[in-house]
Symmetry: C2
DNA sequence: GAAAGATATTTTAGGCTTAAAATAATTTCT
DNA sequence: AGAAATTATTTTAAGCCTAAAATATCTTTC
């Protein structure tokens, strides 16, 4: 929508060192990725609410446990969901209160709590997951299988690159 | 990590209608997109905090205003940021309190408030934006320019597809 | 085996977020 | 003009989220 920006005839070195602000392509890419994700995420959130009266964080937490029937510690959950420890504590608390989760201290290490889905939690999650999978499929229905795989590969590369650039920070 | 899944020789119609659960590719794609975005977002959030003691939502709001020097109403901000109205009210309130934003009722329509950056807000944002742009460039530094453009195009297509599938909902 | 350090979780304080209800102002329809 | 509907914003209640400090437990080191 902003025409074609001039190809910046200045040589690369100057651009990189003296004009550190010349990274518009990456910035646009990031904003588009964020928009796309937020759009889909908001849709999922609303549909989970309308159809199952559940929040996205609770759904995500249950999804992690469903992938690992043996159960996970709070720390493992926190790491896999990429959220803080205290956050997981609170969400688990709610789900335990709803009878969807089981939480018991590990016998070997009394610091850790192992969390898993109850029978009710499993059957509730299965229903939600089936609907969720269909919503997501509809979300990407304009993309061919090949495009989906290209996108997957490029996101994989972006993820690796991002992790590297964060590197020493986390 | 799970070998190559069979190319599903079943015709598309059958797949879509009779086997609504067979959409693992799209699900993996969505999860990867979410992971990638969350990873980058968490990095940006921490660096904004460490370097400028500012939160990501406040930075995002200022970015919207910087793109539109004439100012925006709260409703426009809410729409562009894809967050709720009440949320914008609260964030604007904080930024006005910090002297970074100016908020005044519109002369034509006394319901609306027009918000814009103050001189302090502009100069503060410029500094943050320059650093942010470099962080983002570093985040994607493993991707070639061509890969970046491919990713941009595919995300554009995904965005359109997602909007269509949400369509009547919002 | 006791002190020091590391690890797992919870608590706390502050901030973001939403949906829904409430206010306030404008527009539309008789 | 006056009533009804619409639009813009704020408020409210509940929940998510983080960083940092506090607790409790385990491990290591001397």
């Amino acid at each position: 929508m902003e025409g074609s920006s001039p190809p910046a005839p200045i040589d690369r070195e100057t651009t990189a060192t003296l004009r550190p602000g010349d990274h518009k392509t990456e910035l646009r890419l990031w904003l588009r990725m964020l928009t796309c994700t937020t759009l889909i995420e908001n849709g999922v959130r609303r549909r989970l609410r309308d159809a199952f009266d559940v929040t996205l964080p609770r759904f995500d937490l249950m999804a992690q446990l469903h992938k690992t029937p043996a159960g996970l510690t709070l720390g493992e959950l926190s790491q896999r969901m990429m959220v803080s420890n205290g956050n997981v504590t609170a969400i688990v608390e709610k789900l335990v209160g709803q009878g969807l989760l089981d939480r018991k201290p590990s016998p070997q290490d009394r610091r850790t709590q192992v969390v898993s889905l109850t029978a009710d939690g499993r059957s509730t999650f299965s229903q939600m997951a089936a609907a969720h999978e269909n919503w997501i499929a509809a979300t990407f229905s304009d993309l061919s299988r090949e495009e989906e795989e290209q996108l997957m590969a490029l996101l994989g590369k972006a993820k690796t690159s991002a992790r590297k650039s964060l590197g020493d920070l986390s």
